[in-house]
Amino acid sequence: MLGSRSRSRPADLRALADEELMGLVHDGEVRAFEIVFDRHATAAFSLAYRMCGRRAVAEDIVQEAFLSLWRSSRAYDPARGSVRSWVLSVVHNRAIDALRRQGSRDSRDVPDDGITERLPAPDRTDAEAERRDEAHQVRTALDELPPDQRRVIELAYFGGFTHSQIAEMLDLPPGTVKGRMRLGLTKMRNVLGEVTV
């Protein structure tokens, strides 16, 4: 892991895959980091904003996630997933932390400030078009779940609530909440199984 410091810099960094760029990020190449940021910041910010509903909080989470990627580029292991999934996983964990630190839980569902601009789905590249199609498949799979299963999944994943909190909120036994989570995710997995999400 220490032996990659003498890599030469390709002329067109934008042509490189994320995994190759991460090697340059590890070497301290800011331009490679910029490209990684530009590729994934919209997804990262959208997830953080969807979860927290506060632009300032979402910005802090995204900033911390990307700085973590810069400082800890050695932690990235392609065998464990893509750069994008690593970034989104970091954002999700940090957003949950932020939500659980937050005393009030009133405004988790809807972004609050009306300032943040909703983007049309960008299709500048084939990869973006493919991602848009996959996102559509995932949203459809979620929407088609029975409402009681969809609700617990959304409260947990996007709301950051624990199964105990959800059980209390919906006046259900904790085992029922876990069971609905399992059924819902399993159905989604089966639906999406042929789509390679």
Partner: protein, 225 residues
Amino acid sequence: MTGTGGLRNGRECGEDAAAYVLGALEPGEAEAFRRHLADCAACQKDVAELEQVTGSLADATPRYAVPRELRGRVLREVRATPKAQASRPTRSWSPRIAWGGAVAVAAVVVIAVVLVVALSGGGSSTRTIQASTGSAELQIADGRADLIVHRLPTLPAGRIYEMWVQRGSATPTPTGTLFAVTSSGTAAVGVPGGVSGVSAVMVTQEPTGGTPAPTTAPVIVARTT
């Protein structure tokens, strides 16, 4: 797929896999499930499959424009944060390494540390502590410090190693360094800012993305004074 695991605490362990990948277990439950996961192939399979779904959920949210100033702020911060290999002032060391009491208490992973110190003048000294599971070296040269670990366990999905530094007897603070190990249990990570003023470098196992305060006892404690 799910629900195929064995028994944990007298109940089907597969019930917890979905809540785990959604981040919906209580902290204590999550820690217990992670320990269980290390030895349960059925739950490992469940988690790997269900994480594909939660990963796709993350990427399926409505898109919002990234505030323009955020990009500038992140890049300014990055330029002000040199990578660990940037050169730093030279200093010499007379190191000593010891195990923190927390390691013995935690018994998560017992790691013997081999501390190798390369002095700036070209000399070196090595102090070896009795080996058990895994090993680590803290290499210090020209003010730069790198922690190299060998034969550490690979962590289950959703977990990562996080590095901390302690100054004096103060509470350890996060370095922002997160790392995984290769299939052979090896990793090499820089200690951001070097070890000037640092009394110990520690490593804990944490959720992916790291935490602002440790949630587990350290698996490595390398004392520098």
